[in-house]
Subunit: 324 residues, 2 copies
């Protein structure tokens, strides 16, 4: 896993992934006590950075592998990213989703051309279903984060951040990344190591689901006790990956843990001040920047807003945090 | 008023205005029955295209004029655009606002460094207050739309649309623009005439406030009967401008009128499918594209999402239009 793989992914993504903007607001700067730059990956195709990793992996397949198709497990953003990347390569995609996933996510994944296979979380084993389907049909599994081609795709976000910050003259700043399994976090860290080495990545995680923060502090992989029950569902994973963790350990500063209330307030402020829709899990980094200013030094900080796939009911909770 | 003024404005705006992205969604394409490209000016500084015109005008002032300061009348987006442009030029800005304007807009304008002068709509005359302040202090008035430097600034949006559509190979498509007094509409039309002459501008307006649509149909300036009472307040003006109307008459296709309900549904779909926050008046063009497909021909259409300054309460009405 190295910078050349990220550069190669950037070549494959050119003209396909969206170059997302850096957004700013003097009102957010005032809250944070420093200049805040927000990389708006919620504006990426399918509403999250996951399209980058999906495209990176799918575009690396042989013609035969494309013809046979791909498979992914996901109830959320990875599903949609892989589904769209597969469709644009005319490759069949099977997405294994829990039957109790929100209907809108199931519908969206189907609308992007994927075959959705539902399973019962209580009585069926996801990996078994996936292994059986892969074996029967010869499908290629696209893992959500612990896969070099996926990390390389997510890392292209870091190349863009490096280019934009170099152009703006921003140095010695932290780049805060909403962190699940660490695919995006480690990919950005690798890109910055090569292209903007004075920028340092900091993972942001939900309270009670801070496996990466604890793993970094302990120097070894720690698991989350629970795997559900957070509004920041998009960034809940059992533990950091075997590929991503050593990269984060070598390149990242300490993790930052945010509460659900802080994430909702960040979603509300992104609505009001940046006019973008961010999901709670995609707002963890912005929440860290706005509400944990003592974690940072210097006069600038970058937050990656990783996704914007949020139900109206959850979004209304975020709007309710704004002053009337 | 010519293309050279727009090109000159683009030079002045370089590095100051944001180059806003073109957003797309296969779900919106399906509703519209053709490929939909959304120019997201809601992501511009201060949340609307008005910053372009404000910057264009303020950056053209002499050092003495800047030192003395500027004045503008506005209860909304123009106020904030001028206030920020003035602040970044270290020029004092006086914004005359009705005392019953939403507190958040008054607070925002003040927070951007402007001196806000409130007046009572019922008992005081705005123009009189403004004329008195201008005379006393020598302030330069920045008109909201019927001013060549402002039109030139708004027209830079058209240069970007032309460049992006030329790169995408989009020809013979309509460019639908949310239209108030016509500054943005005529500016974009002038830019496209020079840079992408097969793209045609179509103004989009609110039901009952369709002065431009009726003026274009009649071949002469028509007024609106009412001046308040629309959720699309950002694009309500008494009548088209004396400079903007002849430009629109020469360059634009027929206007398209949308209902409040259609605008709210477009705001909801922009939330769900594009992850951007658009105000109802800024969604008129997208509403026209999505819900009046018979108005268009060909396989592509461009909608300009002009602004994103919307209260949470209004936004909730838009979220309520989405299927649960």
């Amino acid at each position: 896993m190295n910078i050349e793989m990220i550069r190669a992914a950037a070549e494959r993504l050119k003209g396909h992934a969206r170059r997302t903007p850096i957004l700013t607001s003097p009102f957010l700067d005032e809250i944070a006590g420093r200049k805040v730059y927000v990389k708006a990956e919620c504006l990426q195709h399918t509403g999250s950075f996951k399209f980058r990793g999906g495209w990176s992996a799918v575009s690396s397949l042989s013609d035969n592998e494309l013809k046979t198709g791909v498979i992914a497990f996901s109830s959320g953003n990875h599903a949609q990213g892989v589904a769209l990347a597969a469709r644009e390569h005319s490759a069949p995609a099977v997405i294994v989703m829990p039957a109790d996933a929100p209907h809108v996510k199931i519908d969206n994944t189907r609308a992007l051309g994927a075959e959705v296979v539902l399973y019962d979380r209580a009585t069926e084993d996801r990996d078994e279903i996936g292994a059986k389907l892969s074996a029967e049909r010869g499908l290629t599994l696209i893992k959500p984060f612990d896969e070099p081609l996926v990390i390389a795709g997510q890392g292209t976000t870091g190349l863009e951040i490096a280019e934009d910050m170099n152009a703006l003259g921003v140095e010695n700043a932290d780049v805060v990344v909403c962190c699940g399994g660490g695919g995006l976090t480690s990919g950005i860290a690798l890109a910055l190591e090569a292209e903007a080495p004075t920028l340092r990545v900091r993972p942001a995680e939900p309270e009670n689901f801070d496996d990466v923060t604890r793993s970094l502090a302990a120097g070894e992989i720690k698991r989350n006790e629970r795997l559900s029950g957070s509004l920041m569902d998009a960034i809940i994973t059992p533990q950091p990956g075997n590929i991503t963790f050593p990269l984060m350990q070598r390149l990242c500063g300490p993790g930052i843990v945010v509460t659900e209330e802080e994430a909702l307030r960040a979603v509300g402020l992104a609505f009001e001040r940046l006019r973008v829709v961010v999901e709670p899990g995609g707002a963890a980094a912005l929440a860290a920047v706005l509400f944990h200013p003592q974690e940072f030094q210097g006069d600038a900080v970058i937050a990656v807003a990783t996704g914007g796939n949020v139900d109206a009911t959850v979004f209304q909770k975020a709007l309710a945090t704004l002053p009337a």
